[in-house]
């Protein structure tokens, strides 16, 4: 039989996280700070609402765009946070996680060879979804000395006549970096000047600890040119339910809905029902989980700096991204040895882009006692380097 796998797929690099995952499986007594999801179970009121809907026979397809009630709740939610109204009928699409939303957006806005600018280090799916859509990802290496924040000058320098859009994620996976309203407006102004679309992945918005999160759609220059991505995976501890959403200009949402209709039909109905409950009654649980993450963040940052791993204070998400540069190991070597010698799993910074070299990502959505044990193992390890 001939080889049926396309060159595009063959050339698509496997996720650096996946490679590391292969190493971990089968090992015992590992403390994993390598996860990318909450350690809490979905709050019971949300699970119970989904159970009730299943008992009542809500097991069908929904409209392609998603349950109208959910879109209405999302519209209200965004309005409350940003004072910007998206019409539930035409400007909001329910997706199978933010993951699907990103994929749909790339396929909707990119013609072959067109460029999408992505500040790195960033979430592992961004560049591959651009490539799969036939586009070209253009990475900007952000500066650790500036807390891995993208500057308007860096953005300006990356733009060519092929650039279609910029994709920004804040609070950031893996660095935890976030932006003030002024910083966002300065970036949006560059996008506006070059007539670019802004894709804003704000899936960690609720997990912002020291200041209030500013949604990109609030920035004057971003108005009307922003695709806003969010979902329920992180703040509501609902990764397995697979529900996200996109809000944005009606024509782009219509284009995305076309692909979604043919390839996904709709997001799972039980997840959508659960998401409705999350928006109606989920706030107290979000607050409780956020308090726990906040304390763990303070704890792990302090602990890492005590050990001598230089770690800036991340503003949001549930990751820290300390520097391991002084040990003279590559981040993959550091992670592999830490795993085999001390049984602590962390993720090499290079999984999130080349400029992540010299850093590792640690997730603190982990019980505080486990963080403590992990820190003491990391300390042992570093003392030997």
């Amino acid at each position: 039989m001939k080889d049926f796998v396309t060159d595009t797929i063959k050339n698509l690099p496997p996720s650096g996280i996946r490679q590391f995952f292969e190493l971990v499986i089968g090992m015992e007594d590992v403390i994993s700070l390598g996860v990318g999801e909450p350690d809490f179970s979905t709050p019971w009121n949300i699970c119970e609402a989904a159970l009730y809907s299943i008992e009542n026979g809500l097991t069908s397809y929904t409209s392609n765009s998603g349950l109208l009630e959910l879109r209405q709740l999302i519209s209200k939610h965004i309005l409350k946070r940003s004072n910007v109204r998206f019409r539930p009928e035409k400007e909001i699409l329910i997706t199978v996680g933010v993951s699907e939303g990103l994929d749909l957006a790339m396929r909707t806005i990119l013609d072959p060879g067109q460029e999408l600018v992505i500040p790195e280090p960033c979430y592992v799916s961004y560049a591959p979804t651009v490539i799969l859509a036939g586009g070209k990802p253009v990475a900007i290496s952000t500066d650790p000395a500036k807390g891995f924040k993208l500057t308007p000058e860096e953005l300006e320098a990356a733009i060519t006549d092929k650039t279609r859009a910029i994709l920004i994620n804040y609070p950031c996976n893996p660095t935890g970096a976030s932006y003030s309203a002024d910083e966002l407006e300065a970036l949006a102004a560059v996008a506006k000047k070059h007539d670019l679309l802004i894709m804003s992945d704000e899936i960690y918005d609720e997990l912002t600890y020291d200041h209030k999160h500013t949604p990109m759609v609030m920035c004057p220059s971003a108005a009307g040119r922003t695709l806003y991505f969010n979902g329920f995976s992180k703040a509501h501890a609902m990764t397995g339910w697979r529900i996200g959403y996109v809000a944005g200009p009606a024509d782009i949402i219509a284009g995305m809905t076309k692909i979604h209709q043919y390839t996904m039909l709709c997001a799972p109905i039980s997840g959508q029902v659960a998401a409705c409950e999350a928006l109606k009654n989920g706030a107290p649980a979000v607050e409780k989980m956020k308090t726990a993450y906040h304390r763990r963040r303070n704890f792990i940052v302090e602990g890492l700096n005590e050990i001598g791993l230089n770690c800036h204070m991340p503003e949001g998400s549930f990751y820290v991204f300390p520097s391991i540069r002084k040990f003279g190991l590559s981040s993959t070597e550091f992670c592999t040895r830490l795993l085999t010698e001390e049984k602590v799993a962390v993720v090499p910074g290079t999984a999130f882009g080349q400029c992540g070299e010299g850093h590792v990502r640690m997730c603190y959505a982990v019980d505080i006692e486990d963080i403590k044990t992990a820190l003491s193992r990391i300390k042992n390890f570093c003392s030997r380097l």
Binding site: I17, F21, V24, R295, R296, N298, K372
Partner: protein
């Protein structure tokens, strides 16, 4: 509530150094605050929560206890209301909890004994005969599912997450 108290309420073993790290405070400040709470009777004591349901599953354990919830109707006293009668009752060591309630009865007691007979005895010999007790209704506890926020029936939930994920 002060986050220091909140942390200690969930984990009495949390040490001042760790609490300080979690809250971004100075360890000495946390130590002083805890001392003050202890002195002011805000922190009464540090206890360990046992899963007695699980202990009972150990065949060798002969100290299985019997617990009952007892509803008590009492006659309030002039000037002192329910308090003096309640005091007479809650001072018995068999009474592990005592609450004043609104509704069909006045006090709800949790009473512990080694055997069914010893609890029944306590009700018959000590509680019912009290001058200001008008009546009791005893419910023996068959199974504890959840207590003070902790679910007792399930085993420790294992972490089902992938060990490395994006």
């Amino acid at each position: 509530m002060d986050p220091i108290l909140e942390i200690l309420e969930h984990n009495a073993k949390a040490c001042p150094e760790d609490i300080a790290k979690m809250l971004g405070k100075d360890p000495q400040e946390v130590r002083d605050t805890i001392k003050k709470y202890e002195a002011d009777n805000i922190i009464l004591k540090y206890k360990t929560i046992l899963n007695k349901e699980a202990i009972h599953d150990y065949a060798s354990d002969s100290n299985a206890e019997v617990r009952a919830l007892i509803e008590v109707k009492i006659i309030p006293q002039r000037d002192r209301g329910f308090d003096s009668v309640a005091e007479r009752i809650y001072n018995f060591p068999e009474v592990t909890s005592c609450y004043l309630l609104s509704g069909g009865y006045d006090l709800l007691l949790v009473v512990e004994g080694a055997t069914l007979a010893s609890v029944a005895n306590f009700v018959a010999q000590k509680l019912s005969p009290l001058e200001n007790v008008r009546g009791t209704s005893t419910h023996f506890l068959l199974k504890k599912y959840k207590e003070d926020g902790d679910i007792l029936t399930a085993g420790k939930q294992s972490d089902t997450r992938l060990q490395v994920s994006p």
